[in-house]
């Protein structure tokens, strides 16, 4: 059996992803998150974990330095990486939405959309037949309409609290998001046994959770 290298997303998704792995019976070290080490080996599972920025997980997997990764569907839509999307882990549910200040309309000449997801946002508005200008931001997207940078934002919404607290409202829902198990196309073949095993165990756990 060869060792599996798994890219885990830092932050919000991490805890739920690690919990799911543990529920599936994987013995992960309890301090995986706080550890200062970037790469952690778990020899009894023949696995190796590393933490990466959620946006980067699919990149590591595409290049094959990670065999497997856990990434939000938002990342997969935005990055369009050549990886297998094998399993919906059904964790960290949220959605991508268009939001803005209440009772406002789009600027008719050059409506501006601020977002961390330029690919998704431009595809969405193009399909609607609306010509917009996309402005890429790296965080605190809610600020953009407040300060007058953009008419609308496209961002992840999980509870809607951040939007409400900033006096923004949702205009449209683009697509629902959950975390996915992604796999490098070569690893999917070469390490098929190990990966099938992981997929089966996770599938069982996800189904059990759904019944509960």
């Amino acid at each position: 059996m060869s060792m599996l290298t798994i890219a885990m997303p830092k932050g919000r998704i991490f805890e739920e992803a690690a919990a799911l792995m543990q529920e599936a019976g994987y013995k992960l070290p309890p301090d995986l998150d706080e550890s200062r080490k970037l790469i952690i080996e778990v020899p009894e599972e023949n696995m190796r974990f590393f933490l990466a920025k959620p946006m980067d997980v699919a990149t590591y997997v595409e290049h094959g330095v990670a065999d497997v990764g856990i990434a939000g569907k938002d990342v997969l839509l935005e990055e369009e990486r050549d990886v297998y999307e094998l399993l919906d882990l059904k964790i960290s549910p949220c959605y991508l939405a268009v939001a803005g200040l209440p009772d406002t309309t789009l600027n008719e000449v050059a409506p501006k959309i601020a977002t961390k997801y330029p690919t998704v946002a431009s595809a969405y508005f193009r399909e609607k037949g609306e010509q917009v200008e996309i402005i890429k931001l790296n965080g605190s997207i809610e600020l953009a309409p407040l300060i007058g940078l953009s008419d609308r934002i496209v961002d992840i919404v999980s509870t809607g609290r951040t939007l409400r607290e900033n006096g923004l409202v949702e205009y449209e829902t683009i697509v629902g998001i959950t975390s996915r198990l992604i796999v490098n196309p070569v690893s999917y073949r070469i390490k098929n046994k190990e990966i099938s095993n992981l997929v089966n165990r996770l599938t069982d756990t996800i189904e059990e959770k759904a019944v509960r």
């Binding site: 595409e62 290049h63 999307e85 094998l86 399993l87 996915r180 070569v186 073949r189």
Partner: protein, 393 residues
């Protein structure tokens, strides 16, 4: 854009330095040797082709093509693969000769990278095309040759996945009824989005049995037994025929003694519309993308006005090198250093060694600033310096 610095080059373009060149040359020689020994003849085609002909017929996505204009305003492409140019040559010239044609190539192809570095935009491909033979023997030969080529290059651990696009098409057509719906589903496979595929199937207005058939299809990979499973999912003769072809080719590969490298992978869709029969990809440990791929493309030659069945494969030399891993040391070069007085002696020595097959560099000592660092990379050195007779160091 800021002013370019003199060392910069376009995204995805790479230099090949001497030690990499040596390794690459050896790998290519091994691969080409294997192809030649199977009776394949090498050909070359131009780097530039018309966008409307070869560009359009090629399997490579439009957005990956490098396009430019010639003096008359025609759109040209830098060849994105070798299969389409070879189909052009075969259809217009060679198919009048002996058929089936066995052709091979080793050439650079060009694919634009729009996103980022880390992926080559120019890379060498080495491969074969077998044109005009529609039997399974041709498919089996091409795969057996591929395995032989991989082994000749020194690669031990690799794996080949084998699918059949007509099985996929027939299953989807049977269950979904229309080509349009089949294409939707095929796109999920092409994009490797199994989650999306399952979601899509769940929401289709189908009986639960048919849904189950489509979901089962995703699991059809592995050994011969997965073909038996596949037979249960499909009705009618067209699907069974595709499975028979897979069985037959596998049998031939057993006869070639290369079946250990082959596994079935029926959901494999390496292109939306290009292939018409058997498809395959080859993978090696430690390289994140397939090293090569191929399959049967019976519709391509027709686009060039001379319909004929064809099959072939292409391997990426850069990925092959990555899989092999080790680089050659600097080629063993012998150094003859001389001072002006003893030039004749030095030339004689160099010529003698060259005649014996050695690589010998002849260097005037006056032209070297630091003799130690200059001679460091040579396997051995002879000095013809000063008055005494030369000696080896």
């Amino acid at each position: 854009m800021s002013k370019l610095l003199m060392f910069e080059k376009p995204v995805g373009m790479r230099d090949t330095l001497p030690h990499i060149y040596e390794t690459k040359r050896k790998v290519k020689e091994a691969a080409e040797g294997a192809m030649r020994s199977w009776g394949y003849r090498f050909i070359e085609t131009p780097a530039l082709e018309y966008y409307e002909t070869v560009g359009d017929a090629s399997a490579i996505l439009d957005r990956q093509l490098f396009k430019l204009l010639d003096q008359q305003g025609n759109t040209l492409v830098l060849r994105p693969d070798m299969t389409a140019p070879i189909a052009r040559v075969a259809a217009s010239k060679l198919l009048k000769e002996r058929v089936p044609l066995r052709l091979a190539y080793s050439a650079s192809v060009y694919r634009a990278q729009q996103r980022e570095g880390g992926r080559a935009a120019e890379f060498e491909q080495i491969g074969v095309e077998m044109i005009g033979d529609e039997t399974m023997s041709a498919d089996a030969e091409v795969i057996a040759l591929l395995v032989s080529v991989m082994k000749e290059t020194g690669l031990e651990k690799f794996q080949l996945s084998l699918g059949h696009i007509r099985f996929t098409d027939e299953l989807f057509r049977q269950i979904l009824g229309t080509e349009e719906r089949a294409e939707q589903l095929r796109r999920f496979l092409y994009e490797k989005n199994y989650v999306g595929y399952r979601e899509h199937v769940k929401n289709l207005p189908l009986s639960s049995i048919d849904k189950q058939r489509l979901l089962q299809f995703l699991n059809l990979s592995g050994g011969m037994d997965c073909l038996d499973e596949a037979a249960k999912l499909i009705e009618g003769s067209a699907g069974a025929e595709a499975l028979d072809e897979l069985r037959m080719v596998f049998g031939r590969l057993q006869e070639y003694g290369v079946d250990e490298y082959v596994t079935f992978d029926l959901p494999l869709v390496s292109h939306m519309s290009y292939y018409t029969g058997l498809v395959f990809e080859v993978y090696a440990d430690g390289v994140g993308a397939p090293i090569g791929n191929g399959g049967r493309y019976d519709d391509l030659l027709g686009k060039f006005g001379h319909p004929a069945g064809a099959t072939g494969f292409g391997l990426r030399v850069d990925f092959l090198l990555e899989a092999i891993g080790q680089l050659e040391d600097e080629a063993g070069i012998h150094c003859v250093l001389f001072s002006n007085d003893r030039r004749v002696e030095a030339i004689e020595e160099a010529q003698k060694r060259r005649a014996a097959g050695e690589c010998v560099l002849l260097q005037d000592v006056a032209g070297v600033k630091d003799v130690d660092s200059f001679t460091e990379s040579c396997k051995s050195v002879t000095f013809f310096v000063g008055k005494s007779s030369g000696g080896n160091v």
